[in-house]
Symmetry: C2
Subunit: 319 residues, 2 copies
C-alpha cells in the first residue's frame, strides 16, 4: 500500500507493509490528512522520528474488535496512553510517560492508505460535518484547549500569530463566545481572521491601547513571539504558549518575575469538543484550506506546506 | 549624614544630603539593613539605578505627618504606588506602572542614616521581634508570597537553591505547614536547611523519585536552575520563578508546552504576613546571618556579600 514515510525528507513509499491491527486497535482507511507545522519539524529531524507521518486525519474504520465501529467515519485523539499508569488512571493519557503519539512518537501516523489507532481514541464524525472540516478536529481540539487556560477576563484575548495555528485558535475562541484580537504580519491573513469573526491588526500597528492585555495566546511559531507576548501582557496577566520551539530559546524571562506573570503551556485537546463545535457550526475552519494534493503527490504537498506563510495543505487519499 | 550610594561600585558618602520628607512620607532612622542579591546586581548596573541602595531594613520613625507613628520600630513594603491608577485602586501597588521602589527604582534606599518611606507602606514591628529577625521581613514576605502560587498538592514542594533566597523560602514554607525538599550544591547549606525543618539533598543525589514533582520553586539565581526546574516538574505541574535573571536567558522552553506546565513569576509579598510569622515564632531567619558590618564599613559588607555562597550580610547603623 502507499504510505508517506519520514526519512530524510518525506518520501512516498508505494509498497509499504500493511499495518497489523493489534487487540484493542482499529484499522483506519485514510480519507483526508492535514499537514501540520509539527510534521514539517519532524521531517527535519525533530524528536528523531522515523516512520509514517501524519496526525491530523479523518478516516473510515475498516476493521476493529468492536464490530459496530466498522464503517464509521472517525477522527482520533493522537495520544495513546499505556492505560496503566497514574496519568492514564486519572484520565490523562496526554501525559502518560509511556504514551505513543500518532505519527509523532513511537507510532506510525495517518498519511498512508491504512493505519491503526487504539479504539478508545476514536471519535465519530456526524454526517453533517464534511471531511474538509473534520480533518481539522485535532488542531481545533488543541485550539479549544486554550480556553481552559485563559482566565475569564473582560476584554479581548490577544492571539499573536496570523498563521494557521493562530487563525484556528482565533476561530475556536470566537466560536466559544470570546472576543479576540489577532496580531500578525500579513494583511491578507488578517482579513481572513476578520472573516472568522476576530479583530485583527498588524504588529506594527500595536499601540499603547493593547499594552497590558490580561491574556495573550502565543501562536507565532517563533521564539520572538514569546518575547513579544511577555512584553505585551499586563502585570499578573496570563500568556498561553502554543508554539513548541524545538531546541533552546534565547529570551528575557525577567518580565515573568517582575510582572508576576502566569505562563501556561498548552498542547493537545479533547477531540469530542472539536467535533461538537463543528457539528454546531460555531466555527468553520475550511477557509484555512490553501491547497489539496493526492496522497500520490504527498511530497509536493509537503514542499507547498513549507512555503513561508502557507495555510492548511491537505492530502486526499482518494484524490 | 552617611549614605551608601550606588555609583560604579557602592561607596559610602559621608556628607550625603539629608532626605526631605514629603507630605505622606515618614522619615526613618536606619537600625539594620540587609544586603540582597538584587543590591549586588544593582551595583553592577542592573536597571541603571543610581542613588542610595537598600530595600531590606528595620528602622525607627523619626518624623511623620501622623504623629503617632513617631518612635515606632518599622519595616516597609518597598513598592510605593502612585495611588491613582487602576492597579493602586485595586490595592496592587506592586504593579503600579508609575511606582517607585525603595533603593531599586526612582527612590533612594535604606542604606543611609536616614531615608523616607510613604507612611502607607510602613508595618510596625512588635517588641517581641528582634531587629535581627525583623530585617528579614521584606525577603520573608517575598518568600511567603510563593505560598499563594503553589497549589495545595500532597507531597513536598521542591525548592531549587540552597542560597539565602532558597533557605528563606524553605523556612517560610515550613513555617506555613508545608513539607519542603531543598536541592542544592553545598553540604553545609543543606544542613542549615535541615535545621530549618526542610528535607535537603544534593543536586547530584537527585534520583528518579523526585522526577515528577508537582510544584517546584526556582531560587537558584541562575538560568540553569530554570532549565532544571522545567525538567524536574511533572506534567501539568507548577514552577514558581523567584530568580530574576537580568538579560536574556538561553533555555529550552519546549517542556512548558509539551508537559503543559504552569510557570508563575513571583516577586514581592505582604510585609504584615512576614511580621506575623516572625511574631508567632513560626520561622526563624536569624541562622541565615553570616556577617555583620557597621554602615561605616558598608563597602566591605558588599564585598563579603558578593563572595560565592555568602548568606545574609547585615549593615548595622549603630555598629
Amino acid at each position: 500500500m502507499r504510505a508517506l514515510v519520514c526519512a530524510r525528507e518525506p518520501e512516498l513509499v508505494r509498497d509499504h507493509q500493511e499495518p497489523a491491527r493489534r487487540d484493542g486497535e482499529a484499522l483506519i482507511g485514510l480519507r483526508i490528512a492535514g499537514i501540520c507545522h509539527t510534521d514539517l519539524e519532524l521531517s527535519r529531524g525533530y524528536m528523531g522520528f522515523r516512520g509514517v507521518l501524519g496526525h491530523e486525519f479523518v478516516g473510515e474504520v475498516l476493521d476493529a474488535g468492536a464490530r459496530m465501529l466498522v464503517g464509521k467515519r472517525v477522527v482520533a485523539d493522537i495520544n495513546a496512553g499505556c492505560g496503566e499508569c497514574a496519568h492514564c488512571k486519572a484520565n490523562d493519557a496526554h501525559h502518560c510517560p509511556a504514551r505513543t503519539v500518532l505519527g509523532i512518537l513511537g507510532r506510525d501516523g495517518a498519511m498512508a492508505d491504512r493505519f491503526t489507532v487504539p479504539e478508545r481514541c476514536l471519535v465519530e464524525v456526524p454526517d453533517s460535518v464534511p471531511d474538509d472540516a473534520a480533518v481539522f478536529a485535532e488542531p481545533l481540539a488543541a485550539a479549544l484547549h486554550v480556553i481552559d487556560d485563559v482566565p475569564d477576563v473582560p476584554g479581548p484575548i490577544v492571539v499573536l500569530g496570523d498563521g494557521k495555528l493562530g487563525q484556528l485558535i482565533a476561530r475556536a475562541l470566537v466560536g466559544s463566545g470570546r472576543e479576540v484580537v489577532v496580531v500578525g504580519h500579513h494583511e491578507e491573513k488578517l482579513a481572513l481572521a476578520r472573516e472568522g469573526g476576530a479583530h485583527a491588526l498588524l504588529e506594527s500597528e500595536l499601540g499603547s491601547d493593547l499594552d497590558g492585555s490580561p491574556a495573550i495566546v502565543e501562536a507565532t511559531g517563533r521564539a520572538a513571539g514569546i518575547a513579544l507576548a511577555l512584553r505585551l501582557v499586563r502585570p499578573r496577566g496570563t500568556v498561553v504558549l502554543k508554539t513548541t520551539v524545538a531546541g533552546r530559546t534565547d529570551v528575557d524571562l525577567s518580565p515573568v518575575v517582575i510582572n508576576e506573570l502566569t505562563v501556561l503551556g498548552s498542547r493537545c485537546g479533547d477531540l469530542s469538543r472539536a467535533i461538537e463545535l463543528l457539528t454546531r457550526g460555531a466555527a468553520d475552519p475550511t477557509p484555512l484550506i490553501q491547497a489539496r494534493y493526492s496522497l500520490d503527490d504527498a511530497a509536493a504537498a509537503f514542499r507547498r506546506a513549507a512555503d513561508p506563510g502557507a495555510l492548511k495543505v491537505l492530502i486526499d487519499a482518494g484524490g
